[in-house]
């Protein structure tokens, strides 16, 4: 069966520091991968999606970037964090074909101080 992992689970970082969040998927090949952010009391905002290695699409302009160095690895990064980057970051995967929904990881709680 497929599983999705995210780390770290929680992170507290000062403004201006770099960021690296990692997501890995097991038990499937060539998945579509997604990064979402959920701000406090708000819905989910899609940040990036990837349909293959090295293929990244950004949904909204922002202070963050994403990379996919391996088929089942998705990384969210920032060179300098802003206060507004605080939130709950969720990684998700889906099969490349068919509309069966997306499957979410456990999330990373990021607090920027």
């Amino acid at each position: 069966s497929q599983t999705i992992h995210q780390w770290p689970a929680t992170l507290v970082q000062p403004v201006g520091s770099p960021l690296s969040l990692e997501c890995t998927v097991e038990g499937t090949s060539n998945p579509n991968l997604y990064w979402y952010r959920q701000a406090a009391g708000r819905g989910l905002q899609l940040l990036f999606y990837s349909v293959g290695i090295g293929q990244i699409s950004s949904e909204v302009p922002q202070n963050l970037s994403a990379s996919r160095p391996q088929d089942r690895q998705f990384i969210l990064s920032s060179k300098k964090l802003l206060l507004s980057d605080s939130g709950f970051y969720l990684c998700a995967w889906s099969p490349t074909s068919g509309s069966v929904g997306q499957f979410f990881g456990p999330g990373t709680r990021l607090t920027v101080l």
Binding site: Q6, G43, Y49, S57, V100, F104, P106
Partner: protein, 115 residues
């Protein structure tokens, strides 16, 4: 354009009573619809999905939803609420966009269950 409206931001029920979480969708073609649940500080878990098969969809933990095209609704129900059902619930429609199935999320309904 596809969209989802969750009609209640908060729903409160007593343990053992029925649950109804309402969702209306807008779609220019036959949609794929989902309900997800999120417990505090956790990821989203897929409860059930409708993908143009049976209109009454059964999911996990005793939840089910009925797709009603005439009403453009996909309400989530459960006959008897349990304390562990307290969470946030998201109604979602899937849209084919840029080579993948993009999810459009509703704003969420927070379900409270009282003893």
């Amino acid at each position: 354009a596809q969209s989802v409206t969750q009609l209640d931001s908060h729903v409160s029920v007593s343990e053992g009573t029925p649950v109804l979480l309402r969702c209306n969708y807008s779609s220019s073609y036959s949609p794929s619809l989902f309900w997800y649940v999120q417990h505090p500080n956790k990821g989203l878990q897929l409860l059930l999905k409708y993908t143009s098969a049976a209109t009454l969809v059964k999911g996990i933990n005793g939840f089910e939803a009925e797709f009603k095209k005439s009403e453009t609704s996909f309400h989530l129900t459960k006959p008897s609420a349990h304390m562990s059902d307290a969470a946030e619930y998201f109604c979602v429609v899937s849209v084919l966009s840029g080579g993948y199935n993009k999810l459009i999320f509703g704003a969420g309904t927070r379900l409270a269950v009282h003893p």
